[in-house]
């Protein structure tokens, strides 16, 4: 391929680095929005929300170039520092990168929204939100690139992104329709221009030594800022390898996750308390309570196996790979420590939300735009109290078991996915793509069935076949993995037994929570019943074995 100009070369480089994520993003957003549109009246709004979230936030491929993803070894600052030595003005390469980031997201949004809207005959806002997406991206990239100071970044995010989000939310009308006034459009353009100018100035300082440079480095398993890692300094035990590994995990990720959880818990309570006196803070308080748990899981629940990324290459550190320690034990230990710390952090956040929600009574009356607002947090609290009083003790115990194992499963599945994608990127992409495609086909079939294009009988047959296929895949994959792990001496029979016991406990706890009668009502299809009965336990078993298997595959490539 001949590059006719530096701009084309820059665009080609960025396309190469982001194309897989772009394809995944379109796939996920189409499937998720299609599923949402099946919800009924609120469907279009939910679908629109999903598309906006997927295409306006979390577009992180460019920042991955530093070798680190967001909060995963990520270094703030301009990530494409290799461009510094090229004979291109700063304004050009910053402009190209920012434009690519913003415009590609707009295009992806437009494609997804147009396709889904057309397929479901539910027009979603298209060009009316394009300007907002561009501005939002320009602001985000400006904040990430112009400064290497995390405090500036985070403060900047809160000050700029939240008002932008609220502006959009206020312009979403029912039936679904988004329209910005002329003044708002002018404001969006101005914000975009200022963001671009600030980004160019910030990157120019980094390029010419006026500010420290985000040099590329290897992103390690540390999922938290280094100062937080250094904060908890305690001596490494030398009495056993397991203790040393627990120490490593606690120091590098466990204690920081705990500290962040506790910090978040205190912040939530403070926001609710201050909200009594300062009403404009209340939306922030509610938002922090709502997003804290998923945010913790999303930001700190990934890469528990410590896969490293360095400029497009993913691998397992040779330092860790050459420690004389079994792969299965290493996997179990890492997932266990991260899960335990995450669970404690989530409990702290949960207790804080619980305690904070009692303060909401003090907010009454809470008026926004002249209307009284009834906070959902209070309703959720009351519902939870009613359920605690109503349900027997064993149900609560089952719930605790399920929550603990679900946290471990989320961490294990994300770790496994990262390891598998590092080892077999193409196969994983094809697998994920096929699943997305199948999901989309099912949604479209459901839509066609609703409009009478496809007969109900055929649709039911396909649904039933899907259930059988899922059950068969689950059983076969689990059996194969267990067999291979035993044959390769990756797992000992004792380890397999303990994983089976844990998975069975999870399955039993899930069934207890669901209640057996609801699992199989009269005349319920056998395949679905079997799937419901076995799926949680098999899924847990498969994931825990797969986690060890995936680490083994990347440790011994």
């Amino acid at each position: 391929m001949t590059m006719r100009s530096p701009v084309v070369a820059l665009l080609w480089e960025q396309w190469q680095l982001t194309r897989v994520e772009a394809a995944q993003r379109v796939g996920v957003s189409i499937v998720a929005a299609s599923v949402a549109l099946r919800l009924g009246e609120v469907g279009p709004t939910v679908a629109f929300g999903i598309l906006m979230v997927l295409h306006s936030m979390f577009w992180l491929s460019i920042s991955k170039l530093t070798g680190g993803r967001f909060l995963d070894g990520y270094k703030p600052g301009f990530p494409l520092q290799l461009l510094y030595t090229r004979p291109v003005p700063t304004v050009v390469f910053v402009g190209v990168a920012m434009a690519y980031d913003a415009i590609s997201c707009v295009v992806l949004y437009l494609v997804s929204a147009a396709l889904v809207g057309f397929a479901f005959d539910q027009p979603l806002p298209l060009f009316s939100v394009a300007g907002w997406i561009v501005t939002f991206h320009l602001v985000c990239t400006c904040l990430q690139w112009a400064s290497r100071n995390r405090v500036v970044q985070w403060a900047g995010m809160i000050v700029t992104c939240l008002p932008l989000y609220l502006t959009l939310r206020n312009r979403v009308a029912s039936p679904l329709h988004v329209e910005f006034s002329l003044a708002e459009n002018v404001m969006l353009i101005l914000i975009g221009v200022v963001s671009f100018a600030v980004a160019v100035a910030g990157v120019a300082r980094q390029r010419h030594g006026g500010a420290s440079v985000a040099t590329p480095r290897t992103a390690g398993p540390v999922a938290s800022p280094e100062w937080l890692v250094s904060l908890f300094s305690f001596s490494c035990p030398t009495s056993s390898a397991t203790r040393a590994l627990v120490w490593l995990e606690l120091r590098s990720s466990g204690m920081p996750v705990l500290a962040i959880g506790l910090g978040l818990a205190m912040l939530i309570f403070m926001l609710f308390a201050i909200g009594i006196a300062i009403a404009p803070l209340r939306p922030y308080a509610v938002l922090s309570a709502v997003i804290s748990v998923p945010a913790m899981l999303w930001l700190f629940g990934g890469n528990a196996l410590g896969i490293r990324h360095k400029q497009g290459r993913s691998y397992f550190s040779s330092f860790e790979a050459t420690q004389p320690y079994g792969t299965a034990q290493l996997t179990g230990l890492r997932i266990l420590v991260r899960s335990a710390c995450m669970l404690v952090a989530l409990i702290a956040v949960g207790v804080s939300v619980w305690a904070s929600s009692s303060l909401v009574n003090e907010w009454v009356p809470w008026l926004m735009n002249g209307k009284e607002v009834s906070p959902g947090v209070l309703r959720a609290r009351n519902a939870l109290v009613a359920e605690i009083l109503e349900k027997p003790g064993y149900q609560h115990f089952a719930r605790m078991v399920v929550v603990a194992i679900v946290v471990a499963l989320i961490i294990a599945s994300r770790a496994t996915f990262t390891a598998l994608r590092a080892r077999h990127p193409r196969r994983v992409n094809i697998g994920v793509g096929s699943l997305l495609f199948y999901g989309l086909a099912l949604v479209l079939l459901a839509q066609a069935e609703q409009h009478g294009i496809v007969s109900t009988l055929l649709f039911n047959q396909i649904q039933s076949a899907t259930n059988w296929i899922v059950a068969a895949v689950l059983i076969l994959a689990t059996t194969y993995l267990v067999w291979r792990s035993l044959a390769e001496r990756l797992l000992t029979p004792r380890q397999v037994l303990s994983v089976v016991v844990m998975s069975a406990a999870f399955g039993a706890a899930c069934l207890t929570l669901m209640g057996l009668p609801s699992v199989r009502p009269e005349g319920f299809p056998t395949a679905i019943f079997l799937e419901r009965l076995l799926a949680p336990a098999l899924l847990a078993l498969m994931l825990f074995v797969l986690a060890s298997w995936s680490l083994n595959r990347i440790r011994h490539m």
Partner: protein, 301 residues
């Protein structure tokens, strides 16, 4: 009978269709210092990674202490010390934490040896790994690799980042001490003088194959560099038996050749020339003849 520590048998490995190792067989016994030499991409690091189980043998077999390093990583790695080419160490750890952490995996850790080496290298134990220079990282990594007195020490480009003094005095001393204890060292290097100085066995790799392997002295005595004078001019290097590389022009040529000097002399006389001078070839000359451009020229000739 010599105790076999490493036994690699017809090992082949490809990456995306590119052959990195091609039916490589390699053996190292206890007490050997084995130098692996070869140009970039020759397969040295790939071979070392197979010994550590970091790469899985797809064709052929790898045995270290009679064990498969992939199936039994604990059995193999607990007896091995390894210094990687990338010097990858956890950046947030302090040097003393790194030592304590590594110690936990090796019950044979020698604390006094660790302290002695820290003192020799003048490494500050309270410094974080990320604050260390490249050379200091190499030193920290080297201490972590040798302080448990491993039965097999594998060093991938150990000199990279080390200054000349550390390289010549300390690294040599460490390697020699390991070998004198009857333990084995396998190291890869681009520095041929270093390989000549440190190793007693040498393996030359070229394009994923073992080009030659053996006791260093035997290897060197198996190759000579001779100056040859011919009665007539040659525009192209003349064809001579056992010649691997030729430099020069006209009537005088410098030839690196294998086999006996007598055989070579006969070949020269047959072309109307005489051997003016002859000596054992250096490892660098052998390397260049077998793997470098000169070798290719000789093959073409």
């Amino acid at each position: 009978m010599e105790k076999t520590v490493v036994d690699v048998n017809t090992l082949s490995r490809s990456f995306d269709g590119m052959t990195a190792l091609d039916t490589v067989s390699f053996r190292a016994t206890a007490g050997q210092v084995h130098g692996l030499v070869g140009s970039n991409g020759a397969g040295k690091t790939t071979l070392l990674k197979h010994l550590l189980g970091l790469l899985r043998a797809t064709t052929g077999s790898v045995r270290v202490f009679g064990l498969d390093p992939v199936r039994d990583p604990v059995g193999v790695l607990s007896r091995v010390g390894y210094l990687s080419e990338e010097r990858e160490l956890p950046e947030w750890m302090r040097v003393d934490e790194l030592m304590r952490y590594t110690q936990a995996f090796h019950p044979t850790w020698d604390v006094s040896y660790e302290r002695e080496l820290l003192k020799t290298f003048a490494l500050d134990p309270t410094k974080k790994v990320k604050e260390l220079s490249k050379g200091m990282r190499a030193q920290a990594g080297l201490i972590a690799a040798v302080a448990h007195r491993p039965e097999l020490l594998i060093l991938d480009e150990p000199s990279s980042g080390l200054d000349a003094v550390v390289r010549r005095d300390i690294l040599d001393a460490i390697v020699r001490a390991v070998a004198d204890d009857g333990r084995t060292v396998i190291f890869s290097s681009h520095l041929l003088d270093e390989v000549e100085r440190m190793s007693d066995h040498v393996t030359l790799m070229h394009q994923g194959r073992v080009a030659l392997s053996g006791v260093l002295d035997d290897v060197r005595s198996g190759y000579q560099r001779s100056r040859v004078h011919f009665a007539q001019n040659f525009d192209q290097p003349p064809v001579l038996d056992t010649a691997l590389a030729m430099e020069g022009g006209g009537r005088t040529w410098s030839v690196v050749h294998s086999g006996s000097l007598e055989q070579f002399r006969h070949s020269v006389v047959a072309r109307g020339g005489e051997v003016v001078e002859s000596r054992d070839a250096t490892l660098e000359e052998i390397f260049l003849a077998r793997a470098g451009r000169s070798g290719q020229q000789a093959e073409a000739a």
